[in-house]
Subunit: 218 residues, 3 copies
Amino acid sequence: MATLLLVLDLTGTFVFALSGATAGTKRRLDLFGVLVLSFAAGNAGGIARDLLIDATPPAAISNWYYLAASLLAGMVTFWRPSIIDRLRNPVLLFDAAGLGLFAVAGTQKALVFDLNPAMAAVLGMLTGIGGGMSRDLLLTEVPTVLRSDIYAVAALAGAVVVVIGSAFGLPATAVTIAGAVLCFGLRLMAIRWGWHLPVARGPAPPDTPVSKEKKDDA
Amino acid sequence: MATLLLVLDLTGTFVFALSGATAGTKRRLDLFGVLVLSFAAGNAGGIARDLLIDATPPAAISNWYYLAASLLAGMVTFWRPSIIDRLRNPVLLFDAAGLGLFAVAGTQKALVFDLNPAMAAVLGMLTGIGGGMSRDLLLTEVPTVLRSDIYAVAALAGAVVVVIGSAFGLPATAVTIAGAVLCFGLRLMAIRWGWHLPVARGPAPPDTPVSKEKKDDA
Amino acid sequence: MATLLLVLDLTGTFVFALSGATAGTKRRLDLFGVLVLSFAAGNAGGIARDLLIDATPPAAISNWYYLAASLLAGMVTFWRPSIIDRLRNPVLLFDAAGLGLFAVAGTQKALVFDLNPAMAAVLGMLTGIGGGMSRDLLLTEVPTVLRSDIYAVAALAGAVVVVIGSAFGLPATAVTIAGAVLCFGLRLMAIRWGWHLPVARGPAPPDTPVSKEKKDDA
């Protein structure tokens, strides 16, 4: 079981690292920059969670597997972008899977470190979305998770399942799987049907509907 | 006394969270993004302080009150922006009060964790200004506290009062109140009379006096 | 030896703080903003390393020398920019020296805290480049280290020398000096001959070759 969890965790890291590396090559970073983005996107969520619950040094720092998975993803993206292009749809799928996995694993770890249920769910969600947020911030973009469709909410839903299951003493494995599957399913449905959260009304100038590129003109 | 401090602390969190939520709605984030901005603005200063002095898990993570206060502020701002508009002046007042409170409380906590006086004052100031900095960075804006009027200096002045009072063994309650009142008063006077710090001279191109807002047009 | 190391460490902090203060005055921050940039550029790398290896509170927080060195650099830059202008070439030299020193000292500290060799080298590199990254992020610029010439790689090379030397049980002083000199030399050669890493090819739109640099010209 521990081995299975590690494999799944590293798969999630690898997939998120692909998203970081892809964003880095699009912005024309050099090789080193692409690898930094890979590592940040794959690991920043888990590192933030571990710092906040005092599980130091964070797993991604005490163990070199995470670095290796991130560098592999970065180098493939850098030297073989054609592979990544062909895999675009699988990557979206893996990203949804990684999100679900990180959310439930992060929640479990926070509960093990005695956080109260509400904050454990928040930290589970943070584990899932932190990598993408740091990827965007390093490229000085407003994190897409703050403005786009159902992403964080899917992670939160998966985390809440784990928290509720744990409160009722249900078997951890079943609860973890249920949470991950719920997050994964919600995310896929959000992609499929373009679900998104309401956006603040407020007095935005009429010529800049949501166009982020123009964001500082307002 | 502990209850009073918690109430004041949560009030400060609520007020700072209002500023985060307001900034988020202005930039057209979705509901989740607005709530993240609320939490970050209300709690990032305290979280950074707690991580740096090794008071982990940070109060804002181990305790759900801070999350609740932040979400409440975010939801009011999102669904009832008219209330916030009407409260603009009170919010500036509360913000000054929150700044004073966070600065002295942060300094006290750093002293309890045995930091030397100079760094305790710095961390008190960080507690006060960290939320606003993270709010601005998440929206990819240069933190206003780095370029605007007397804000950080007011927080620092309040923190220094606490440090000096503690060094002379004066009663903690009196010193805390004096520091908070000094910060609050300085901040109000800075707003009232437009006080600000000197800006670096240096060879800035003559057509861009302070024109940061234009930076993303390129 | 400990005194020598502290002097070198503070020299590195001072030099990096100069780079932060210079960047802050160029962007027209006020005095406080310039001092924050000085502290961040001089200390963020070491603080990040200390948080990640759980050496809390970080040296730059528990000890006021680092704050003093940073503030001194910031105030000189703010009030006597002409001195800094005249020292431009020495500063590049000092920056390379600071990079080498931070990289080897950071690696040594990570090894002392029982990190595995690969991650110790990564943290050594982070110690060297973290200050510059946080300086750029506070000014909402993509960190130059992610897109420019041989900088992080020089730090990594110095860190790797320390890790290998430590694995073979070579004398720490000799290994430390060798690593710092290698990093310093690589960095100077990269400046001299314009060495840089490959940049991702990928389908960049032809009208924006690398033109992100223009965003802050406004």
